[in-house]
């Protein structure tokens, strides 16, 4: 099953979104990686890398992000993986993409299917 990492500047935002996306995807590993260690806003590369590790149940990981600098952190974390093809950062609306990706992963979708679900998630209906 594909895992998710939610890269955010805010710990609360990432955790709340993990909760929300997890509601309809109880079996998916959804790891929040938000905020800096000292509680301030920012992205923590080490936290993202650790989440990436833990989100991978063997089939790969999709990373979503809130703002541009979170995307750069996510990209870097993926590049530094032993096998970067195991993970992909997706350009998608953060909340809508995460919920759609979680549902797709829960349904057994592979990396491509989960990426597609995230990208196609527009504004919620």
């Amino acid at each position: 099953m594909i895992g998710l990492v939610l890269v955010s500047h805010s710990a609360k935002l990432a955790e709340g979104l993990a909760e929300l996306a997890g509601q309809m995807a109880p079996d998916v590993r959804i790891l929040p990686a938000g905020g800096l260690l000292d509680g301030t806003l920012g992205t923590d590369f080490d936290a993202v890398s650790a989440a990436l590790d833990r989100a991978d149940a063997g089939d790969g990981v999709v990373l979503l992000y809130d703002l541009g600098s979170a995307k750069m952190t996510a990209d870097l974390a993926v590049e530094m993986l032993g096998d970067p093809s195991r993970a992909a950062v997706v350009d998608a609306p953060f909340v809508e993409g995460a919920v759609a990706a979680a549902v797709a992963a829960q349904g057994g979708g592979d990396l491509d299917a989960v990426l597609t679900a995230a990208v196609s998630a527009g504004a919620p209906d």
Partner: protein
């Protein structure tokens, strides 16, 4: 300054001092068109770098690699992956070369710029650190026939000018781009910090 690992370590200590001294200025710039943390981000990053410098490595490349991974892990803002990638690419370009030369510094700066562009996808004129680093690399290349100190001085001068030139621009990348037209009239904090870092390296090399 020597151009071996010890010289690079010394230059990085100066850079950390400069970052500390300009923390508030960078915060103020970032408050105008961003989230006001650029100075604090870099201070956190370079404070961490300082703590790693004693045993950072035997070659300039090895030292810069430690700097890269430390900035990546500690900066916490866009500047983290951007400067991290810059130092990483510079380190890779220098390889295990024991001493910097004018020409290897030019190549390292060019590699750093490529890294920043690959990471952030900004073009010249987007009002980012790329607007400081791009002219810096061009000026360094023009000075490649001279000394390491001359190369760095040329780069620092050009970066300073590049940073000033970001003032009228409308941001198209990074947080400042959210402001649209309102981003004009302010210097880009990342361009400013690039100029400061290059100035610190140039001064250390002189």
């Amino acid at each position: 300054m020597s151009c071996d690992a010890a010289g690079v370590v010394a230059a990085l200590r100066s850079a950390a001092e400069v970052v500390e001294a300009h923390r508030d200025e960078l915060v103020t710039l970032d408050r105008e068109i961003g989230d006001g943390d650029h100075g604090e981000n870099l201070k956190r990053g370079f404070t961490a770098v300082l703590s790693k410098l004693d045993n950072a490595g035997d070659t300039p490349g090895a030292v810069l690699k430690v700097v890269a991974s430390t900035l990546i892990s500690t900066v916490g803002g866009a500047a983290g992956p951007l400067y991290g990638t810059a130092f990483l690419r510079a380190a890779a370009k220098l390889g295990t070369e024991p001493e910097l030369t004018a020409s290897s510094v030019v190549d390292a700066l060019a590699a750093a710029l490529e890294g920043v562009v690959a990471r952030g996808k900004a073009e010249v004129g987007d009002k980012t650190m790329v607007d400081a680093l791009t002219p810096a690399v061009a000026a360094a290349r023009d000075a490649a026939g001279s000394s390491v100190a001359e190369v760095l001085r040329a780069a620092a001068d050009a970066a300073g000018k590049g940073a000033e030139d970001t003032v009228p621009l409308v941001a198209r990348k990074g947080r400042a781009s959210y402001l649209g037209e309102r981003s004009a009239g302010h210097m880009d904090p990342g361009a400013r910090s690039t100029a400061l870092l290059l100035r610190a390296f140039a001064d250390a090399a002189s």
